[in-house]
Symmetry: C2
Subunit: 163 residues, 2 copies
DNA sequence: ACCGCATGGTTGAACATTCAATGAAGGGCC
DNA sequence: GGCCCTTCATTGAATGTTCAACCATGCGGT
């Protein structure tokens, strides 16, 4: 018998500090990178990320679902983002031949141009405000940690069907 | 004389991987923690964070501007967030006595109760999906990195007045 | 062939965040 | 005291994201 319903395992002071640093650092960083992209290239970060995936895809085209998975955004969100990009002429959509349900998005020449123009400033920002501040060891640690986070969250699906 | 306008210093493959892991990991993590908080306690993460700061403040009250700085959200955003919390009865607002412009937000008893009920599950999530996956060394590295990011971004103000 | 169910994708409304404009009050300077 | 400039905070509109509902197609079983 136990008076409490399983006592909470709180974070210790260092963990607490690190967690909060991560929270506010991430807020500020995303904010800043997004702002730069927007002001200098008229692109939001989610849009930029979509363009990157498309540019790297074989034949520069990708199924919507795959695109969504690759950036870990909801399908709905990707639909909206791609719709904006399409309206701006940076992306095109076409029905998928092999699968009647499918849609393939592809990046246009104009999209490639926009991406190539935006990439250098974006990378410079990522360096200036993150990578170059970190030291290789620490940055590698960040990589390990968030790879683990990703793996864990991918299979611990909140829409758990079977248990 | 230089043919190009300063060639870009791209990320190497490891940096690239780490950067992307951080991006998608953060997306998934925030998504998940927010969802848990919402479904189980009817609170969004930004609301939860506000409650935390208020609960820790001397006399459980804080000026709006300070609150905004402490979570690194825009003042406008905090105004809206606090308005929601106030409507839910978790926070109260009162004019500041010493400064006619100021407003002090304070957490109500109901707010404290909501926070105390939400905190254990939230912390459990933070552990399960981040802290416990990381290893102390690596997680400390995350802390260092994002402290540096924060420091850098705080004084490299995008609204740079003087240079 | 048909049924039932899962998947791919879109839609529009609800909700949250950003942005620009606004008003009220403090502080320095003459 | 009056002026100018800054800071504090809010407002409402524009924009982006989430959420639930929806339709169409594919796939498996019978």
């Amino acid at each position: 018998m136990n008076g409490e319903t399983t006592d909470t395992d709180w974070l210790d002071q260092n963990q607490q500090r690190s967690w909060r640093a991560y929270l506010v650092g991430t807020t500020l960083l995303m904010d800043r990178l997004d702002r730069e992209l927007r002001e200098q290239h008229n692109l939001a970060m989610p849009e930029y990320e979509i363009l990157v995936r498309l540019s790297e895809a074989p034949d520069r085209r990708m199924r919507m679902a795959l695109l969504a998975d690759s950036v870990s955004h909801s399908r709905s969100r990707v639909t909206h983002t791609v719709a904006r990009l399409e309206k701006a002429g940076l992306v095109r959509r076409a029905a998928c031949e092999s699968d009647g349900r499918g849609v393939e998005a592809s990046i246009t020449d104009k999209g490639m141009a926009a991406l190539e123009s935006a990439a250098p400033t974006h990378v410079a920002g990522v360096r200036q405000f993150l990578v170059d501040l970190a030291g290789d060891e620490d940055f590698a640690a960040v990589g390990r940690v968030f790879n683990a986070v990703t793996d864990k969250l991918i299979d611990t699906n909140p829409a758990a069907d079977i248990r």
